[in-house]
Symmetry: C2
Subunit: 328 residues, 2 copies
């Protein structure tokens, strides 16, 4: 018996160490508010075996919007900056753009002119900058842009303007057996370039708006070529449809920040059993931006009105978050 004592001692130390780790705060950038407690309570109740709310690991599907939920979206969706920079980069090969809208306005830096071209103009620029090339060429362009482009207000690389508390939430859910997905209105090929490194979400768990594509030989090698036709608009009604097509399971957790996420949150919380939905409310004009009902990007109106009735958590960025963007 005596010679077993050292082994017991080691076991005891290990147990204590594990206990300490389990008690360390998994969401250190969240203030100790009702929001944080609601999240921790939900995760605790659905992961505890024997709990009436228990959800088996394979059904722990968590879906996150990207723009305004995982990274900033002001003064415009970051992909809009990419689009504008691509128009400028490609302009020398397209002399006709000097006199053709909305390209002419982009090249003159006239954002009002760009806005005046409306959805039609945006789709034209999207076709010009997001299709015609192979999927690999597109990914290379995005990679190069992310490495060099800077946010107009903060001067930071765009992928540093992610929300530290949300990175912690993604990690916390994964550590508790959740499979995390991005379900965003943003372009899927655009997000897949950085989502794995930035968020720990692999390409096969990143869903977004997409163009059609075809398989063909280019220079004697097979390639996927991006076509200028819409495949999926992964916004509003399109989000539950995208979830159904790509994931094929009902999420049990969803996070968004705008009316574009309404149906995803509604679909998620309509499932049987315990479910969780949250909205990031941009309330911090000092550290980020403050906007909701009147914003062009990330308009939050109907979802804000119905959140309480629907049992959705509203995360108050100013009061719930200790830090916004990661401290470099």
């Amino acid at each position: 018996m005596k010679r077993l004592l050292p082994i017991f001692a080691i076991h005891l130390l290990l147990l204590l160490a594990t206990g300490a780790a389990a008690q360390s705060d998994p969401l250190p950038s969240w203030n100790d508010s009702a929001s944080k407690r609601a999240i921790v309570d939900f995760v605790g109740s659905v992961t505890k075996e024997g709990s009436p709310d228990y959800i088996p690991p394979k059904e722990r599907i968590a879906t996150f919007d990207n723009d305004g939920t995982l990274w900033s979206e002001q003064p415009a969706y970051f992909q809009v900056f990419y689009l504008i920079d691509q128009v400028k980069r490609m302009a020398p090969e397209h002399p006709e753009w000097k006199t053709r809208e909305p390209f002419a306005s982009v090249l003159k830096g006239d954002m009002k002119g760009v806005a005046a071209s409306g959805e039609k103009g945006l789709l034209e620029m999207l076709a010009a900058t997001h299709s015609g090339m192979t999927s690999e060429q597109f990914a290379d362009n995005v990679r190069q842009w992310l490495a060099t482009a800077r946010h107009p207000k903060t001067g930071k690389p765009f992928n540093q303007m992610v929300y530290q508390p949300m990175l912690e939430l993604l990690n916390y859910l994964r550590a508790n057996g959740f499979k995390t997905f991005i379900v965003s209105g943003g372009g899927v090929d655009f997000m897949r370039v950085f989502a794995e490194q930035t968020y720990g979400v692999p390409p096969e768990q990143t869903i977004g708006s997409s163009l059609k594509a075809k398989y063909e030989m280019r220079d004697g090698k097979p390639a996927i070529v991006k076509l200028p036709d819409i495949n999926l608009i992964d916004d509003k009604d399109g989000k539950p449809v995208g979830i159904y097509q790509y994931i094929g399971r009902h999420p049990v957790f969803a996070a968004g920040n705008s009316d574009g996420d309404y149906q995803m949150l509604e679909w998620t919380t309509s499932g049987d059993g315990k479910r969780f939905a949250l909205l990031v409310h941009h309330t911090d004009e000092k550290r980020e931006w403050a906007y909701d009902r009147d914003s062009t990007f990330g308009r939050l109106d109907k979802a804000l009105d119905n959140a309480k009735k629907n049992g959705w958590l509203i995360v108050d960025m100013k009061n719930d978050w200790k830090v916004i963007h990661p401290q470099q």
Copy 2:
């Protein structure tokens, strides 16, 4: 020192046990042929750290066709039996089908008449039996059918007509850090009902042909409703396109059995670095079926001609497999 000996002894035993487990055969239903060795050599070389062929775990994407690759597909794709059974089940609500082709032929059991209606007839039956209901109702129908329907030749439930050697291959790849996907011409909603339980492939890793869908309120609850319009034909050129849209990564391993898999295998083996592709060749008319170039279902012609040139393994079902279907 003396009191540490028992601990060393335990470690030694554990090491020996681990060694024994590693040496046990992961593919016991495969004969010890060149095919088996090619698979084991590939997996060994790409998973060994420091090997020039090493592939990091996150890039270990393996894609499998379903019909004729993971389960049988004779005398017709199993989903065709489902379709026919659904037409019969739904017939009382559709008296007009008695005189309308191809429904009339189905109800009379006239398979030649059904065949004569061609692709148009098939699409009409598909729309009638695979759309109009919610995704959950459809899954319920398939679940019920799988529990009761029997294969016309073997009398077995259809999901027992899977290939034991391929189940072992799926497990073997997963045990070596591969993420396994189904990429099939079959209907995605149909396969998602049984793929997780049967193959260990979850819904979010099951890709197939699909219909469009919409999100709407039904009886005051949100639902996904299947529409009668094609979203993706996940066959031939559509397979690499489906892989690109759903997975967003280049597979490093692909398995198929017909010309419908040609482009998936071509796309997979065109990637940089070590890649693997195999074709299941149906050569066993005693234990299963023997067919290739002239088969209506699972025609294997061009892929058979080019397999050697392309470096694809041809698995000879009769000589490479000890058993075909699982022994119940």
